[in-house]
Subunit: 294 residues, 2 copies
């Protein structure tokens, strides 16, 4: 199977599982469930979910048991986008070419839809953990909570907001992105590896890979905000400049930023090569993510 | 030990555990942690945490192992209050006599502090579950996620917002409160009972007790919003009338509402009497909560 075929198969299965993961079971709060589903099922590349499945497969040869966890990480990702788009945060009217959740359902409902998605992320795997050792399930979900919380993604978002309009040093930008963007990427890699039965040393290698990939991914994001195609991206470009955000491009310039992303991507692949198993897919995934054009 | 002494001992231990549950470990997001701690440690009766501990004690004779779960439910409660107070929700400037989180730290930081508290609720017990069977830990945390999520507390909050300014039928008011106010009370009772090793039949009795207690608690809340003392309550009264909310008082009148709360409280105690063990404390707790004057 080619990389593209395997990637598409993962995505089809993820979409099916997400579609079944939240159902309208009560007319009185159907509007809330509709808002949750609107944001959860609005496309996106499902990179984090694919990583959970693929790292599980890499260490155990199978990925089906990791599906509820792959869904959970997409729920956390979807909630974070809903809350990030709110007027008191980035105040974005569009997301993936569609009205953002609060433009579609109102601010209060968007806030609640985000809260409910975050909460459901911690229910769904525990309601669907047949065939998995309970200790392993806890270890995987603990990673998600750590990397999504105050010392992870939310902490990074706090630093990001706190830095708006300021020139921040590279050290702080690295830290911000290690928490914010890389947070869920690290959670995805580690969750998949834990579910697949990786050793402690292998987990450290996976985490090192995820940190490099996350940074390369963010630098590419910064580059695309300057040179990307608005139609392909589904969002306006030049938003960093408008929000006066420090980025890898504002610090290093476009060419140097591209070079750094390339180097990080090579370093990430070098980490992968320390791991056992068939790494062809995840190496191609790494190159796709770090060198993407939209 | 008298009821009051035991209640106070629980509360002292809960405050100590909460104080240790989130620490500032990084200056760059110290402001976020400060906002989380401001809301988490701002007092409150800690009823839900006490229930977790007491139901664990009732079934197993000891309560210390339930402390991380008692902390988790207080984190969920604190997050829900922060988000409820936001301008797009109830727009409340005060909480327990102090400025609400967004008045103190700004809207974006309050939103993030709520998100981070909710996330930490699902990390804390999994980082502190020594001596507990992993399956039991998962079962307890699953209850928290179910009762806090879209088919629980958040669903109830959605119906509440959706009903503002409308006269709603008693059936919908009952449902709303069963989800919204009773949600975490049911989670507290069931989590404690699960951690204490209750049987399935006992869990059903605990849930029935919690539903009756939750409703009595809410009716008393509605009554206090009409006849309570603002200073003792730490918040303005007559807010339901101002927000045109349907309440048990607006439907039944003050006297009849008091009678219903009394009856529910008696029914709750009758459920407790089906359970084994020393129920003196939890019976006094029930009467205190359902017949409280602030």
């Amino acid at each position: 199977m080619s990389f593209k075929e395997m990637f598409d198969q993962y995505r089809v299965e993820i979409e099916e599982a997400l579609d079944k993961s939240i159902v309208v079971d009560d007319k009185d709060y159907a509007g809330l469930v509709e808002a949750m589903r609107y944001s959860l099922l609005s496309g996106g590349k499902r990179i984090r979910a694919v990583m959970v499945l693929e790292f599980c497969r890499l260490f155990s040869g199978e990925y089906k048991k990791a599906m509820p966890y792959a869904c959970a990480i997409e729920m956390v990702h979807a909630y974070s986008l809903i809350h990030d788009d709110l007027p008191c945060m980035d105040d974005d009217d569009f997301r993936r070419g569609k009205p953002s959740c609060h433009k579609q359902f109102g601010e209060a409902n968007a806030l609640l839809a985000g809260d409910a998605l975050l909460t459901h992320a911690f229910e769904h795997p525990f309601s669907n953990c047949e065939g998995l050792d309970a200790k392993t399930a806890i270890a995987a979900m603990r990673e998600l909570a750590v990397f999504a919380g105050y010392s992870g993604m939310v902490g990074g978002q706090y630093i990001d907001l706190d830095s708006e309009g300021k020139k921040i040093p590279l050290e702080l930008l690295n830290k911000l992105q290690l928490l914010k963007t890389s947070g869920l990427i690290r959670a995805a890699g580690k969750m998949g590896a834990i579910l697949g039965g990786a050793t402690q040393k292998q987990l450290e290698t996976v985490d090192s890979y995820c940190q490099k990939l996350g940074l390369a991914f963010q630098i590419t994001d910064d580059i695309l905000d300057v040179v990307g195609d608005e139609k392909l991206l589904g969002k306006p470009i030049h938003s960093d400049e408008e929000n006066e955000k420090s980025t890898y491009v504002s610090i290093f310039g476009l060419e140097e930023a591209k070079k750094i992303a390339d180097e990080l991507s090579d370093q990430a692949v070098a980490e992968l090569n320390k791991l056992p198993g068939d790494k062809e897919f995840v190496i191609e995934l790494t190159n796709m993510l770090a060198r993407r054009t939209y």
